[in-house]
C-alpha cells in the first residue's frame, strides 16, 4: 500500500531502513538536515550534502542528478536526532533551470529496501523557488513518520538554510555549490535531458504524478489548473469576469493555490505535538493566483445577478461538501462499529492481545478516513471562506449585512434588486462561514417572525426570556421591513402596520418616526378591521383586473406598488372575520403584490386550532434568534438561520429610513 501524500500529510513508516528516491526530470542537489527534538538543526555538521555526504544513518549523492537514491537508516541515527529534512535544490552552476517552475514537478518516494513504496509525494505548485524542503522524517514516540512538506524558497539554498537557523547559511550554501560544481566537472556524461514524463520507470508502475508535466513549460506562468488543491466547481468555472467598473475587490483570501494552507490538512490520527507552520514568513508566493476567488464570479446579466448566483453557488457547494464530509464520517463510524463487533464475535480474538490489536487497527482505519475526509472538507471550507471574504464586501445594500459599510453610502435605488437578504445561514461544522440568505423579489411567500421561538443555545446567552424574544421579534421585523423599503425605488413599496395593543410601539419607532409608513400603526379591533379591509379590497380589485385582462380598468387612485402588512401581536384584536381576511391575504396576496409579515407566537393563536395551520405553512418562518430550522434545497441539511442584526448603537437604520422618506417626499409618492 503506497500512500500518496499531499502537502502537509503524514504517514507512519513501518521500516527504519529506507531508501528515498527522488526523480526531478532535471539535475537537482539532494541534501538533508538533521534536527533535534525541538526541530533545531544544531550546526553545519548536522547537514548532509554533496560536500559532506555521509553522516551516521544517512548518505546523499555527491552530485546533482535527475534521479537520486538516498540510503537512510533511522535506527543508526544518533539518539538526539528527531527530524530529518530532505532538501532539493537546483544547482546554480551549469546553466540549468533556475526555478522549479521550469522543470517537471519533483517526485519523491520513500521505499523499503526491497523497493516497496511506502509513501510518495509529488511536489507540485512550485514556481520561482529554487530550493525546497521535500519531506520530513520525524520521530514521534519512538516511531518514525514521514510528512510531505513541499516548502519552497525563492532565495534558494541560502534562504532555506537561513530558515533552519543555521549559522553562516551562505557559507554552507557556497560549500554545497562548490561540491556540486566539482561533481559536475568530474562527471563524464552530461546530465540527462529532462524527461517528458515519469512513466518510464518500471519500478513504479502505479505512480501518477498529480501535475501534468507539460504545464510547467518555461512560460513563466504556472498552469491555471492541476494540482490537488485546484478546487473549483466545474459549474462555477467558466463564469465571465466582472464587468469593468463594477466592484470587484481583489481577494484577501488566506490561501493561494500554490500554497495550500497547512491548516487545511490536519494531522493524522496519531497524537502529534504542536502544529508546525511550514510557511516561511518571507516566502514568495507564486505570482499567479489561478483559483483566487473573485466577487461576481458567476453567470448573470448584471453584477446584481452574478452576485446572486455566486452566493447561491456557494450555498450549494457548502451544502454538498458538507454532505460529502458527513457521509464519509458516517461511513467510517459504521465501519468501525462493524469491525469492532467482528472482533467481539471472533473466538480467536479472545486469546492474548489479538483483540486489542484488531480494535486498534479498526480505530486507526477510522481515524485515517475521517482525517482524509476532514482534509478535503477543510480545503473546501478554506476556499469558500476565501470566497466569502471577497464576496461580502462587494455586495450591494440589498444583499449586504447591516454592518457592511455599503449601507453608509446608501442611496435610494432606481431599480428593484433581484433579491434581498433575509439573514445568514450556517452549518455547525463551521459557524464562521455564513452564507447570505437571499430570496427573490418580489416575495413569493409571506414572512413569519416567530416570537415564540426559544433560543436553542441558552447557556452562554442569558436571554431565554419570553418578553425579550418578543421584543427582538418586532425589532427583527422592523429590520426586514426597513431593508425592503430601502431596496425599492421610492414609492414602489408600501408598509402598513397592525399593532392592536400598541405593544410594539418602541420597536416600531424607527419606521413610525421617519415617516416611511403608509399610515400610523393600526390599533384596536377597529384599526385591524380597517387595515385588513383596505388591503383585502385591493387584492380583490387587482385580482379581478388581472384575471379579466384589464389592468387599465383599475380605479385611478389605486396604487399598484408592492405592499407589506406587518401584523404584530397576532391574534390580539382579531375576530373571526379578521382572521379569515388575513388568511385570504396570505393566500392571494403575494400574486398581486400584497405581502404579509406576521410577528407572532403560534401558541397565542392555539385557540383557533388547526384552522390556522395552512396560514403558518404558507409563510416563511424566520426567527428573532439563531435557530436551525431551514433546509437547503439540495441535500436538506438543517441550517442555522441568523436574523439580520443592526449593530448596537448604529444609526444606520435611521439614516437609511430618513433617506427613503426624503426621497419619497421629493418624488411626491
Amino acid at each position: 500500500m503506497t500512500a500518496e501524500l499531499v502537502r502537509g500529510q503524514n504517514h507512519p513508516l513501518s521500516e527504519v531502513r529506507l531508501e528515498i528516491r527522488i526523480s526531478a526530470g532535471s539535475p537537482v542537489v539532494a541534501a538533508a538536515t538533521l534536527g533535534d527534538d525541538s526541530g533545531r538543526v544544531r550546526g553545519a555538521e548536522w547537514v548532509v550534502h554533496p560536500g559532506a555526504p555521509v553522516l551516521p544513518g544517512l548518505e546523499v549523492s555527491r552530485q546533482a542528478a535527475a534521479d537520486h537514491r538516498l540510503a537512510v537508516d533511522l535506527a543508526a541515527m544518533p539518539g538526539a536526532v528527531h527530524r530529518v529534512g530532505v532538501l532539493l535544490a537546483l544547482p546554480t552552476a551549469g546553466g540549468g533551470p533556475v526555478r522549479f517552475g521550469a522543470v517537471p514537478a519533483p517526485f519523491v518516494a520513500v521505499t523499503a529496501l526491497d523497493g516497496t513504496e511506502l509513501a510518495t509525494y509529488t511536489i507540485t505548485g512550485l514556481d520561482a523557488e529554487s530550493a525546497v524542503i521535500a519531506l520530513e522524517l520525524y520521530r514521534r514516540q519512538d516511531a518514525w513518520k514521514v510528512r510531505a512538506v513541499g516548502q519552497g524558497y525563492a532565495g534558494g539554498l541560502p534562504e532555506l538554510l537561513t530558515d533552519q537557523h543555521l549559522p553562516e547559511p551562505h557559507r554552507l550554501a557556497t560549500a554545497v555549490e562548490e561540491a556540486v560544481a566539482q561533481g559536475l566537472s568530474r562527471s563524464i556524461a552530461p546530465p540527462p535531458a529532462p524527461r517528458a514524463q515519469h512513466g518510464d520507470r518500471p519500478d513504479r508502475p502505479g505512480h501518477v504524478p498529480t501535475q501534468p508535466v507539460a504545464s510547467y513549460g518555461g512560460s513563466g506562468n504556472p498552469a491555471p489548473t492541476g494540482g490537488p488543491v485546484d478546487y473549483h466547481h466545474p459549474r462555477r468555472q467558466s463564469a465571465p469576469p466582472p464587468a469593468p467598473g463594477e466592484p470587484a475587490p481583489q481577494p484577501a483570501g488566506p490561501g493561494t493555490p500554490g500554497d495550500p494552507a497547512p491548516a487545511a490538512v490536519p494531522p493524522s490520527s496519531a497524537p502529534t505535538g504542536g502544529p508546525v507552520d511550514y510557511r516561511h514568513p518571507g516566502r514568495q508566493d507564486a505570482p499567479a493566483q489561478p483559483v483566487a476567488p473573485v466577487a461576481g464570479d458567476a453567470t448573470g446579466w448584471s453584477m446584481d445577478e452574478r452576485l446572486y448566483n455566486q452566493v447561491w453557488g456557494m450555498f450549494e457547494d457548502l451544502a454538498r461538501t458538507t454532505a460529502a464530509y458527513r457521509s464519509a464520517v458516517d461511513f467510517a463510524e459504521s465501519r468501525l462499529e462493524k469491525e469492532i463487533d467482528q472482533v467481539l464475535a471472533d473466538p480467536r480474538s479472545r486469546v492474548g492481545g489479538r483483540a486489542e490489536a484488531a480494535r486498534e487497527a479498526a480505530r486507526a482505519k477510522h481515524a485515517q478516513l475521517v482525517d482524509q475526509a476532514r482534509a478535503a472538507f477543510d480545503r473546501d471550507l478554506d476556499q469558500l471562506t476565501a470566497e466569502s471574504e471577497v464576496v461580502e464586501p462587494a455586495l450591494p445594500p440589498a444583499y449586504a449585512r447591516w454592518d457592511n459599510p455599503v449601507w453608509h453610502g446608501y442611496r435610494v435605488p432606481m431599480e428593484i434588486p433581484m433579491a434581498v437578504r433575509l439573514g445568514d445561514l450556517h452549518l455547525p461544522e463551521d459557524p464562521s462561514l455564513r452564507i447570505p440568505m437571499l430570496v427573490r423579489l418580489p416575495l413569493q411567500r409571506g414572512l413569519w417572525i416567530d416570537s415564540g421561538c426559544r433560543p436553542s443555545v441558552s447557556d452562554d446567552e442569558p436571554f431565554a426570556d419570553e418578553d425579550e424574544v418578543r421584543r427582538l421579534a418586532t425589532e427583527t421585523a422592523v429590520a426586514h421591513a426597513a431593508r425592503l423599503l430601502a431596496v425599492h425605488p421610492p414609492g414602489e413599496f408600501g408598509v402598513h402596520v397592525i399593532d392592536p395593543a400598541g405593544s410594539g410601539a418602541r420597536a416600531l419607532a424607527p419606521l413610525v418616526d421617519t415617516g416611511v409608513l403608509a399610515g400610523p400603526p393600526a390599533a384596536g379591533a377597529a384599526g385591524v378591521a380597517d387595515a385588513l379591509g383596505r388591503l383585502t379590497q385591493r387584492v380583490d380589485l387587482v385580482q379581478m383586473a388581472v384575471r379579466g385582462g384589464a389592468p387599465d380598468a383599475l380605479p385611478p387612485g389605486l396604487d399598484t406598488s408592492e405592499q407589506l402588512l406587518i401584523v404584530n401581536d397576532f391574534p390580539h384584536g382579531f375576530d373571526d372575520r379578521a382572521v379569515t381576511q388575513l388568511r385570504y391575504l396570505a393566500d392571494e396576496g403575494p400574486a398581486v403584490g400584497v405581502h404579509l409579515m406576521m410577528v407572532a407566537d403560534r401558541e397565542d393563536a392555539a385557540a383557533y386550532g388547526p384552522l390556522l395551520d395552512p396560514l403558518w405553512r404558507s409563510l416563511l418562518r424566520l426567527t428573532p434568534v439563531p435557530d436551525d430550522h431551514l433546509a437547503d434545497p439540495w441535500v436538506g441539511h438543517a441550517w442555522t438561520y441568523e436574523p439580520p442584526v443592526v449593530p448596537q448603537d448604529s444609526q444606520v437604520l435611521q439614516l437609511v429610513l430618513t433617506q427613503v422618506a426624503t426621497a419619497r417626499r421629493d418624488w411626491n409618492r
Binding site: 500518496e4 514524463q197 501534468p212 485546484d230 457547494d317 464519509a328 461511513f331 467510517a332 478516513l369
Partner: protein, 192 residues
C-alpha cells in the same frame, strides 16, 4: 486514442502525460431496433435510463438517476433523462458527469448501469454503447459496445474504482433484469 473495451477489461484513467483525469463523462447511447414485418415504420420508444451508484466498501451510499440527478456531495451529475433514446447517430443520449476530484474520500467505486424503464429487453435495442470521455477536452477514453441484444432488461455497464488514489475503469457488461437500479444492487455486489 479511444480504447474499445471488451467485457472485463480495465483501463487506468491516467492521462498520457501522466496527470490524473479530473472529470470524466459516462455517455450512453442507444437506438430502438427496427421492427420486422409489417408496420415497420411505426417507431417504438425505448426509455433506457442510466444510473450511477456510489459505493463505499461495497455499501451503496448514493445513487444518481433520473429522479436524483446530482449526488448529495455534488461530484456526480446526471445531465437529465432521455425518454426515447437514439437519434442514434452515435451521440450520447444520457450522460453522467463525474468530477473525480470531488468524489468523497470514502467512495471507492462508482458503478454505471442501464435499465430499460419501459420494459423492452435489449433484444429491441441496437447500437447501445457506453463510452467514457475526458470531460476537460472531450476526448473519448474508452468505448464499450453492448453485445447484441439479450433477453434481459438491464446491464451493469462499467465501474470506475479507485486504488491508492488512482482511478480505473472496468467494463463489466453484466446482464440483469430490473426496472430501476434498486433491482440491480444484488447483481452489482459480486462485481465490486
Amino acid at each position: 486514442m479511444t480504447v474499445n473495451l471488451t467485457k472485463g477489461q480495465a483501463i487506468s484513467l491516467q492521462k498520457n502525460d501522466g496527470g490524473s483525469l479530473t472529470a470524466v463523462r459516462m455517455g450512453l447511447g442507444w437506438q430502438a431496433a427496427p421492427r420486422r414485418g409489417l408496420f415497420g415504420s411505426r417507431t417504438r420508444e425505448i426509455d433506457l435510463d442510466a444510473s450511477a451508484v456510489l459505493f463505499a466498501d461495497k455499501q451503496p451510499v448514493d445513487v444518481v438517476f433520473f429522479q436524483h440527478l446530482v449526488s448529495d456531495d455534488g461530484s456526480v451529475r446526471h445531465t437529465g433523462d432521455n425518454l426515447v433514446g437514439g437519434a442514434g447517430q452515435g451521440g450520447d443520449d444520457e450522460s453522467i458527469l463525474v468530477d473525480l476530484q470531488r468524489v468523497p474520500v470514502h467512495i471507492d467505486q462508482i458503478v454505471f448501469t442501464v435499465n430499460s424503464f419501459t420494459g423492452q429487453t435489449f433484444q429491441e435495442v441496437q447500437n447501445a454503447f457506453c463510452r467514457l470521455v475526458d470531460e476537460t477536452n472531450g476526448q473519448e477514453l474508452a468505448r464499450y459496445t453492448l453485445a447484441g441484444g439479450g433477453d434481459y432488461t438491464a446491464q451493469i455497464m462499467a465501474k470506475v474504482h479507485r486504488v491508492n488514489g488512482t482511478w480505473t475503469m472496468t467494463a463489466l457488461g453484466v446482464p440483469a433484469n430490473g426496472r430501476t437500479f434498486q433491482d440491480l444492487i444484488p447483481v452489482i455486489l459480486p462485481h465490486l
